[in-house]
Symmetry: C2
Subunit: 318 residues, 2 copies
């Protein structure tokens, strides 16, 4: 248990002995990727050095992403290219976890996929049949589409919704129609709402999921953060001890909330979605759900831990 | 005020004198269209006779639809073809009401439309500039789309979301990006969730609206039922007296709730979305919002009012 529990203490305000003490309070580190380790395919300054240093100091390192567009193998390649010393077993991803979820349940029907090849390839790896990723656009008028072009597959047993840049009305119609069978599983890889970029807002999986929820009038099983299911096997197999695990993230309603839900320590970094100003609002809020979003500690960006990490390692103070 | 207020009394259980008394309790009738008067372009059995008979008996007749895909002129043509004696002034539609809403506010920028030509033509009628309806699909990869193909128009001052069978990721991205300017209006024609059909579920405008709400992190102004705004001018201009107005509908969370919100009497018909089994659930519910969905009276379909209407008119009993 962190002595900084839900205080959002800025690590830059701590002394080297305090940092050393904090570093010795966890054995495992689970870090979000986009917004913490890299952004738009570029490593964030110092992030790889920090993660590699933590590994060198004996921490178990896991990378945990809600990004459903990549397989674990692709994430491994990307991480290695950007200088992170990781292994495929150290990668927790929603596309992989979705396939694992279905495999564990001996799912033997076909999956209707709203998503990309990140999902379909992970399904292939475990031998689960699925529809193709890619465009499925409107053909003809609405009447023609419904009468002639819309073909429903009677073998579909699950609808999986992740990030899909080819999201469309035909996909929505098929998903809602399949989900009118209560035996058809409804799985969301994650519910991240959006990705703000300079002068631009990119919709996240959560936007697609809300659309399908609305027309299907059903709520999905959510695989990704903040659902603790994504870390369940790590905890059950005793690969990590929750109270001695640090969760690092930039989005409080996924990363920090996952930490809250699993009993991890939490570190919010300001290099992505949420900032100290957001935390200040949650501290003032009377909604108990908002309190769960407050991290134990904070850093403007992960790279800023490097000096204290190196100094602490040199043992001058502790 | 109806003596049957929120009792969901089945009109078929009443005597002719009771029906006559009920008929004399309102002067104006506002009827939903799809699911009450017609379905898939076909008039429902007896519906035109009932509406025309009510008109012949001196009632003010209004047709009120959340369907944003048609102009008032198109709805008039359709109603006349199906045998309903209506006028364009008697048609309350969300595409028309959306254009009127913007016109009343002297809106002079351009509208980004997620919707069909029903909306763009109504905007044309009042001289408001807008983007085109129709396909706007993904070009290239996600990276290419954002770097090369995505063009944002700096003159957009409102995003309107209605039913759009060409709903797509590029449209979502543009809408969310425009809405990151707090001065950009966000208007939903309506929030009907879906249209269940045999072996098929067609997503409604509400599904698109929820998707945009999620990635824009903003709530829209909703023009259509159950928002009383759609009947505001009728009430303000004293064309109708709310307590002596009957709202007829098949969808409780739009039609009956509009009636509740405006102080109308309400009649639920079972020929569309909601059934007596739904009403039974709302009666049992402890949620006060559910209570608002309970209609005063009920009929399996509007046409079944005809015998009592004719008999009552013949004056035998009253």
């Amino acid at each position: 248990m962190s002595i900084y529990k839900q205080t959002c203490t800025n690590l830059l305000d701590l002394s080297v002995p305090q940092i050393s003490s904090w570093l010795s309070s966890f054995d495992s580190v689970i870090s979000d990727c986009d917004g913490v380790l890299w952004i738009y395919g570029k490593a964030l300054n110092g992030a790889a050095d920090v993660m590699n240093q933590l590994k060198a100091q004996g921490k178990n390192i896991y990378f945990c992403t809600n990004n459903s567009t990549k397989t674990r193998a692709e994430l491994l390649t990307k991480g290695l290219e950007l200088g992170f010393q990781i292994t495929e077993e150290g990668i927790i991803s929603t596309a992989h976890a979705t396939a694992a979820y279905l495999k564990q349940r001996n799912f033997d029907k076909r999956v209707f996929v709203i998503g990309t090849e990140g999902i379909t390839q992970e399904l292939d790896f475990v031998g689960i049949r699925h529809t193709k990723a890619g465009p499925d656009y409107m053909q003809g008028t609405l009447g023609e589409f419904m009468a002639q072009h819309l073909k429903l597959d009677t073998d579909i047993g699950a609808v999986v919704v992740g990030f899909d840049e080819h999201f469309s009305f035909p996909k929505m119609t098929k998903a809602a129609s399949y989900l009118s069978d209560p035996n058809c599983l409804f799985i969301a890889t994650n519910t991240d709402e959006r990705f703000p970029m300079p002068n631009l807002v990119v919709p996240g999986s959560g936007s697609f999921v809300r659309a399908i929820e609305t027309c299907a009038e059903r709520a999905p099983i959510v695989i990704g953060k903040p659902n603790p299911a994504i870390c369940e096997s790590l905890i059950k197999q005793k690969k990590i001890n929750p109270s001695r695990t640090l969760m690092i993230g930039d989005r409080a309603n996924t990363d920090i909330l996952l930490g809250y839900n699993c009993g991890f320590q939490t570190l919010l970094v300001g290099s992505g979605i949420h900032q100290l100003s957001d935390v200040a609002q949650w501290k003032k809020s009377s909604n108990p759900e908002d309190k769960k979003l407050i991290p134990d500690v904070y850093l403007p960006s992960l790279g800023e831990l490097l000096p204290a990490l190196v100094e602490s390692q040199s043992g001058g103070s502790y």
